[in-house]
């Protein structure tokens, strides 16, 4: 090992370097922040990040105007259909309140079909459900995460409660619902293992066409179906003020609007965290360099070029930084695994690697490391063995 090499300093100053590496590794807290943020919307993205191949129209308000508009749309629905989007059906909607990873209450509507045939027809022409997912009459299929979150157990019987917005389980526990439209009868819950929030059911007790209107395409040209769905949705939203035609894109747009503010907050947090860590790390480096000023001065006196000294400092910083980031990554991975283990039973968990987390960590890390390296340029200029 060359005495002038970066590793020599690290090897001989292990404790100090470990502290510096841990300080630099603290930037991975930004990853945890962004991971947390990403997981507010992740259950939605699993559903919305699919090709637009269906849309549903529901009443946006509870006033009479909405009912009138719904009737009018039902009367003239054929006028809105196109060559590629030529199918529609009326469905019920059900959706239980669930708690997001940030502790907020959210809701998401899921269709309940009148017959198994309707379900299969819809399933086969859209990407909303797994192609091999079978649902029997009287069954409510719920993903495990959703079920855990809202408190539904496998085999529970879900009964519509007269008190609006409530569903009862037969064991008399109550689960709150956000969406129950004209639902009657009962459904037996079956829990399945699929990603994210998913729920659907079939009930022959469905008794009317006042629920949601689903329209979808049946051809192979997915691009044209997507375009037509968008066009129809826009037309309906433009014409009927009390109705809302929703498709994946509109849902994504809504979500982006809502989540955008939170990401702005995240951005500010990253800057603050980055600045705090940068100031702390740079102050520690300044103290370290003050102790090493004789060392750097003698390097210059012995004929080392300034760029060689800067290169040595840069290498030391980068090695410590990479070590710190690796350490932080291990800590984050273990933390996420522990949190997931604790949260899974409650229907909450972190889904996957957060790309925003990686970007946030890289930005925060740059805020810390770049000043350290740039300041070393300035510091090396003043080291002078004749000055002490």
């Amino acid at each position: 090992m060359k005495p002038f090499g970066a590793l020599c300093f690290i090897k001989n100053n292990m404790l100090r370097c470990i502290v510096l590496a841990i300080m630099m590794g603290c930037v991975t807290v930004c990853y945890m922040g962004a991971l947390y943020m990403d997981n507010i919307s992740e259950p939605f993205w699993i559903r919305y990040n699919k090709k637009i191949d269906n849309a549903y129209v529901y009443k946006n308000t509870s006033n009479n105007g909405a009912i009138e508009e719904q009737k009018e749309l039902g009367t003239h629905i054929e006028d809105y259909l196109t060559e590629h989007v030529n199918k529609y059906m009326y469905i019920d909607m059900i959706g239980f309140d669930f708690t997001s990873i940030m502790g907020f209450n959210n809701n998401m509507g899921f269709p309940v079909f009148e017959s198994v045939e309707d379900y299969k027809e819809f399933r086969n022409h859209t990407s909303m459900f797994p192609k091999d997912l079978e649902v029997k009459d009287g069954e409510l299929v719920v993903s495990r995460m959703y079920a855990n979150n809202v408190g539904i157990k496998d085999g529970d019987t879900i009964i519509y409660n007269k008190n609006a917005g409530k569903c009862d389980r037969v064991d008399e526990h109550t689960v709150r619902t956000s969406f129950v439209r004209l639902y009657k009868g009962e459904l037996k819950a079956r829990i399945i293992d699929v990603d994210g929030m998913l729920c659907t059911g079939v009930s022959k007790d469905y008794d009317g066409n006042d629920g949601c209107l689903f329209f979808y395409g049946t051809g192979d040209d997915k691009d044209k179906i997507e375009n037509d769905i968008k066009k129809i949705s826009d037309e309906i939203n433009g014409k009927f003020k009390n109705l809302r035609a929703e498709n994946n894109k509109l849902s994504r747009d809504d979500l982006n609007t809502q989540i955008g503010f939170m990401y702005s907050v995240l951005g500010m947090i990253i800057v603050v965290v980055g600045a705090v860590i940068a100031i702390t790390v740079n102050a520690t480096y300044a103290a370290t360099y003050e102790k090493r000023k004789y060392e750097f001065s003698i390097y210059k006196a012995l004929g080392f070029k300034r760029r060689e000294i800067i290169s040595k400092i840069t290498k030391e910083t980068i090695i410590l930084n990479i070590t710190g980031i690796l350490f932080g990554t291990v800590v984050c991975t273990i933390s996420v695994a522990i949190l997931n283990n604790l949260l899974y039973e409650r229907g909450l968990h972190f889904y996957s690697i957060s790309s925003n987390g990686i970007i946030a960590t890289v930005i925060c890390n740059a805020l810390v490391v770049i000043p350290v390296i740039l300041l070393s340029f300035k510091r090396t200029a003043k080291y002078d063995v004749t000055a002490y």
Partner: protein, 223 residues
Amino acid sequence: MFELKDATMIYDIEKEEMVYAMKNINLSFPDTGLIGIIGPSGSGKSTLMYTMSTLKKLTEGEILYNGESVINISDSKRQHLRRDEFGFVFQRHYLVPYMTAVENVILAANDSIAKSKEKARNLLLEIGLREKELNKKPGKLSGGQRQRIAIARAMMNDPKVLFADEPTASLDHENAFLVMKKLKEYSKNRLVIVITHDASIIKDADKVIEIWDGTIANIKESV
């Protein structure tokens, strides 16, 4: 080898009362031999060494090394001189605290690590360190042992000129004479410039230059 022409160094040049560390010094140094520069504290001895070794720039005048000016040379030329042509022993030995004695000596070595280590070991043993002290860090060694490491480091690249600023300052008399004996041997085919305020240690010098208040007070050549 070295020639100084009207070499002047002024500190605080922008202030009204300028401080002359060196004033119109004219000197020439041979290619080999032990040259002692003596004078009281603040007389300008160290400044003379710093300017000759390119660590400081003259305010006025000229210093020639092998006929070439060392005043306005490029950074790479200056680094070449400091690394390959000159060796330094400073008043404060400036050892890197986290490196062993051997590592400190090979710090700026030009040879391969293995070859340099072998040479460094021999140098350190020759100059009075013991085998068990070679892998100790400066903090575990006495002032005299540290100074010997600094001397070995200065000799590592076989410099043509060795500048030693108070090399025996932290040594007892016996060790001081041992070191000076080594430097005297070393000066047979090199130029060794020793700065000191102790006349007794440079009694064997080929030439002694006495400096007072930045000017040459006396030059004594040995017969």
